[in-house]
Subunit: 224 residues, 6 copies
């Protein structure tokens, strides 16, 4: 009897504790290697990730392998982003930085999107890109755009809508640093027309000055 | 001769100094009342606004009048945002907060947009609103939406795409606080389809899975 | 025997874990909805609030109802503050903003107080208020004061002592945004003369240049 | 003619530029030594202090002399605070820390006050102090108090009202670190009853439950 | 049977929870007193320290005793640092400040080191010190040095290499404030030549332009 | 007469204003493109860089060219760091991120150093590197080291001493992101043994347990 009571209590506790994820914005110790080891069934989370015991930190916690491989660009936008953030390198926890490799098939694009928590600095390794960002309403939504060649670098300021397009006939490859261990991505088309559940088509028709049937088509296409 | 030399030097200096705008993210003194008084012709700016001499600060620097008046909703989206930020109240400089009044004509909307530098907390005073925000790709672009009645409050997290629609037959009025003295607004439709100069229509056609002629139409409509 | 040992261990764990409250200063994810669900008996807390599982976040977590109702001003200072912070809207966790409704009976006041963690921006909806704040010793404790009418806005900088007084013959109503999800309130009279336990009356008599018996009277009045 | 025009322009510029004071919250370079050298007549200020040319920085910019001398405690509260912040050591600019020496005559006190921008950590060198702080309304205004002897350390959290009283028959001396280069001081009695101009006595009488004539007496005593 | 299962589960939970240490960078409540009471066997950590239940906070949590006693300087560098940070005063959690007492025997030194998370402000109480810091490569590694006498104050900017040497014939005593509750110390000689395991001597020989055997000797001396 | 007076005043003003450099830690506007255009002779600086007029910002302000070229490794350590920070891309001002390309000749190294203001995330493009960092005294100066092959990524936490060595027979190339627009570099050997002026050799001899003549030799070698 008492045993099963204790099991119930343990289960509740486990539900409470497990899957704990949490980290904090700036270092208060040498490092705070993220951990997901708190998995017994439950639900304690923080803004970021919890740390593992600092004494258990090891070199592998600061390491990731595989950015030499091209991502699979066989998709609608013909591009692929390989992300190396705190989910891939737990030692990035609290460190305020992460990295991506972006592959673009010919005529592929990384479509208009924002990072709500990071500025991006991109260096082109191979190929030719047309890149740009658009400033906010207060700055009259100006387009800042450039054609990039290998060795060129471009900056996309935090929260601004930006894109990259492969305008060459060969694949393009870029690396980019982001000023957060978990920058987030908001792809405009998918977020506006492919939300779950969809936004009322009448609302989007008015906002985008589109026929409501065009919006319904878009919502069908972007449904995920 | 020397006189005109001095005038030239003064002009250069003026070009250098004027229109100076600058403030900093968190208070290091009681207040840092913004100033635009540095206007002789030139160009010194900071991230935010410069302060006026603290000894010259007065009650009026922390004051604004007129939020009792409805904004003009005679426009495409039938809504109006009256902003009270550091440009209207210089005493908000470095303080990390601002305020807006939003008026919605019947069936008007505050169309999908983001604030790159602020979370918004809205309280509805009159009318009935359908409001919502969409989370990022990592959270599967989930729509968080609610119908609001007078006295209801809703929160739009920093950087997320959100909107409000008046679904009633009468005007609606809301006040909202924003967690920045200069939150910024990025209206999605205007930024994507109305940038200056326009983004290449082919790029947007691929991104939004729209016919290129539809994109061209949209770019014509949103041209500003 | 062993069963009761396990129960003891569970109890200790529960004491350790429960009532956990924690959040962090700036977002590292789309949102971090606060949770108090960690209640089995114990004591794990953080600076702010823990998050609930992001996948379990829903629109209600960003919603609050009832700011259309006047607060009860039947008290010594004839005013009432209805607070909408992270305790009322868990989705405000890590977002750096909150909201209050303040009601003032005729001749009521929101007495001199500070917010240790927030600047306040107030908009008057109804009535007539005399409002002000006093700057720090370094600025010679200058009083910045104004009479407000409906639609007027005033700013009270972080940490400065401020107050509002209804100087009209009718009730007054204001809304105010605060630049923290948990701004805190330090009412001067209650904190200085009504602390638990009371500060030694001799100390306050010297500090306020009051007769020690006047201080004892005040401490009796403000005892809570 | 043109000459005097240029002089007028110079005067305007000077008014605009001089007495410039400005610094920022966290380092973006090795150091940012504060400068007040921008004094020709005018008014450019920032949140904090401007820097001097980094190349002109020298050891003296990080140095201050004289904390071995007792301050003059011949005043109403029989205590004296010698402040070493960014005004005394320009190299503290952007560094987020400062230092004070506090002298207390027998039965002297550092009366109830807050630092709006800093936590304080105090170490007692000589004498016996009774020290304390009071938490906010949300924590029921609890008094946290202790008697300190030489070598004892006590912490006063940011924004909380706190005090120190010499309860010994000999002078006391303490040093304290503050978590800001410009912590600010708000002495409660002087700020509430000695503001410039005074707060309406009726307002304070209601707030402090004092007879209006007692408030008028206090305002006369604390007038500065 | 079931009993031992529950014990196993408890053990796993304990491993998960115990030794929890966590705090956050800036206050979101009056205080967040650090706790290490989460010790049953496990491993939940945060960036900083967890809080104890705010209601259980008491004056002792903000108190430390013993800085009147000289530290033991009987060691290689003839100096001793007594640290009073969040490990000694749990109330320092999230407060961004700490304190040290440094004792120097005659001809003792606090050898070249950095604090990765804090600026230091030092006041000399007794003796004569030669102190200095060296700026970064971008500033040409300039040495900023001074001889200090009692009552003199010197600032060591965050992250810069600095040192203090007792150049008098008597012991020296200093107190210093640090702009973090957990500043960290990286002693250059021990970190470079005494790491665990040692850095390859060939690497250090090239870096320091030393004979590889000299490096091996150093690594033997600094092995800990 | 008056003319030369005005010229003198202009010169003073110019001295005051010129070479102005200043930026702030986090964005308060879409971007704050750094400017050095304030060069007439003088000395106004801020923590970071001033902005140019936002209306004058253009795509080139966010662009840099040339990272496809190998740096010159013909030096003592046989490596070269090409830095792309706010000095190369003014649009990085306030954005909290920068980029470097590092070239290593065979057996070359990027010798032990720290970044006082940034964490580094490095991706190896070509060659084979042995990389590592050493934690602080509190963590017992543990060495975290790895051999990297193309596509491998490693993280060096802010303020920790770290290094990379080319252990292959061919040149190596890496790119790295840094979490500051002006990370700073402190090369240990040059800073300790090559400061300007040199640190007293007796001090370093005691700190590093080296013969004073060895220190003098090192100081001669690292003199710059």
């Amino acid at each position: 009897m008492r045993v099963s009571l204790s099991l119930i209590l343990i289960t509740i506790l486990a539900l409470v504790i497990s899957f704990a994820k949490a980290y904090d914005p700036s270092p208060l110790q040498d490092f705070c290697v993220a951990t997901d080891d708190i998995k017994i069934g439950g639900a304690v989370f923080v803004n970021g990730k919890f740390c593992k015991d600092p004494k258990q930190a090891k070199a592998e916690d600061f390491f990731f392998s595989g950015l030499n491989k091209a991502g699979n660009t066989n998709n609608d936008v013909k591009s692929n982003v390989t992300t190396v953030n705190v989910d891939q390198i737990p030692g990035l926890n609290t460190m305020g930085i992460s990295l991506v490799r972006i592959d673009y098939a010919p005529y592929g694009q990384n479509p208009p999107h924002t990072h709500p928590r990071a500025t991006e600095i991109l260096v082109l390794i191979e190929g030719t890109l047309y890149v740009g960002f658009v400033s906010s309403n207060q700055d009259n939504n100006r387009l800042f755009a450039k054609v990039l060649h290998p060795g060129d670098v471009f900056v996309f300021p935090i929260g601004q809508i930006h894109f990259q397009v492969n305008i060459g006939k060969t694949p393009a490859v870029a690396f980019a640093g982001l000023s957060s261990q978990n920058a987030g991505v908001i792809t405009i088309a998918n977020t506006v027309f492919g939300s779950n559940p969809p936004i009322n088509p009448e609302v989007l028709a008015q906002a985008f000055q589109l026929d409501v049937n065009v919006v319904k088509d878009l919502e069908a296409k972007f449904k995920n």
